[in-house]
């Protein structure tokens, strides 16, 4: 696998003091999941040790996003019904908001940013299903966090971030294009680097790193293509904003990898539009 961390990214992130760490509970959960003998009860006990987190999880699993017909009342019950993977995703997605707490108002509207992120997660879930994938929750997470590099920039390299935003405004261009002009490093690379540091899956690292350039994701092309298209679908549906008002062109390599035809877009967009509404439960944690 090619390493997504270029020297420029290393130089940039070396200026960041004390990067956010992956929440301890997610780390523990990851370790537990590696052990095939871990039981639902053990995982339930770990999550239940954090009452605020448990409440969030129960709220999400009982929302129309999962559409489960009867009420799920305990975390262990949620694990048994929805599976380890789904619960792990819910834990990860509900804690990511805590890691990157909202800051005061500036040009970059965090609320709009998270709306775009949640919308992209919802779009990725729909696209992944259409593309024949089964671990749909992983795609929700990847979509939700695909732009996390922008938050890193805003939070830790704020002056650079402001320069990028000013360039977006001046040139009416994509955030990505402005980054290339101003920083020579992109939010995608920074996000990928963070996830690599957090030891998240290689697929997720590649998907985040190459979501604007899927053809470079040599061994995760199809996964990355889902995130690439999810971002574009979410922009087309005008859901939130990732800091610019433009839309990138769908990469031909991604389109081929997914094997879609233009009429497929219609069902993807319609379904995503409905799924976005359901996924808004995640925004309650902001």
């Amino acid at each position: 696998m090619t390493t997504p961390t270029s020297d420029q990214v290393k130089a940039l992130v070396s200026r960041i003091p004390g990067l956010p760490t992956l929440p301890v509970i997610v780390q523990k959960l990851n370790d537990m999941m590696l052990n095939p003998r871990t039981t639902a009860k053990e995982v339930g006990r770990l999550i239940s040790s954090d009452p605020a987190l448990s409440a969030k999880i129960l709220k999400i699993v009982n929302s129309s996003f999962y559409g489960f017909p009867s009420r799920i009342t305990t975390v262990t019950h949620a694990i048994v019904i929805l599976g380890f993977n789904t619960v792990k995703s819910v834990v990860l997605s509900s804690t990511v908001f805590d890691v990157f707490k909202s800051k005061g108002e500036n040009e970059f509207k965090r609320e709009e940013f998270w709306k775009h992120s949640v919308g992209c997660g919802a779009a990725c879930r729909v696209i992944a299903r259409e593309a024949g994938f089964s671990a749909l929750e992983d795609f929700f997470i990847a979509g939700l966090m695909h732009d996390v590099g922008k938050i890193i920039l805003d939070q830790y390299l704020h002056d650079d971030f402001q320069k990028v935003l000013a360039t977006v405004k001046r040139d009416d261009c994509l955030f990505l294009e402005a980054e290339k002009k101003v920083l020579a490093v992109t939010h995608a690379e920074i996000g990928g680097w963070l996830f690599q540091n957090w030891k998240l899956s290689k697929g997720l690292v590649q998907a985040v790193t190459y979501h604007h350039n899927p053809s470079l994701a040599d061994d995760a092309l199809k996964i990355t293509s889902v995130i690439h298209l999810g971002d574009i679908v979410c922009r087309a549906l005008q859901c939130g904003s990732g800091g610019d008002a433009k839309i990138p062109r769908v990469s031909p390599a991604a389109w081929d990898a997914l094997g879609f035809t233009p009429p497929k877009l219609e069902s993807i967009l319609r379904e995503t539009d409905q799924e976005i509404e359901k996924a808004k439960v995640f925004l309650d944690f902001l």
């Binding site: 087309a236 005008q238 008002a245 433009k246 839309i247 769908v250 389109w255 877009l265 967009l269």
Partner: protein, 102 residues
């Protein structure tokens, strides 16, 4: 409720009052969405110059403005991709979905 001349009544408008014939008999009930056969029926009955319909969403200035905003945002995104069939299909479907939601 707004009054519309029968010549200006269009398919999709929803009746806000019953349409009655000269004898007071109900031709079409309120709440009915006008279709071509229903419009023909009203016109053929004769003597009916106007109908009352529910204000159309299209006539609400706020909604018109919102739709224009959606279309403007879409143009800003998609105009530069005019030669790409996938992007054009994305533009067409997304604007249709968003405009309907208004």
């Amino acid at each position: 409720m707004i009054r519309v001349r029968i010549e200006a009544a269009q398919e999709g408008m929803v009746l806000a009052r019953n349409v009655t014939d000269a004898a007071g008999g109900i031709l079409v009930r309120e709440g009915t969405a006008l279709t071509k056969p229903i419009l023909d029926k009203i016109r053929e009955a004769g003597g009916i110059d106007e109908v009352f319909v529910v204000p159309s969403p299209l006539s609400d200035p706020e909604k018109v403005a919102r739709r224009q905003e959606i279309e403007a945002r879409a143009r800003r995104m998609f105009d530069e991709h005019a030669s790409d069939p996938i992007m054009q299909e994305l533009a067409r479907v997304s604007v249709e979905i968003l405009a309907r939601r208004v």
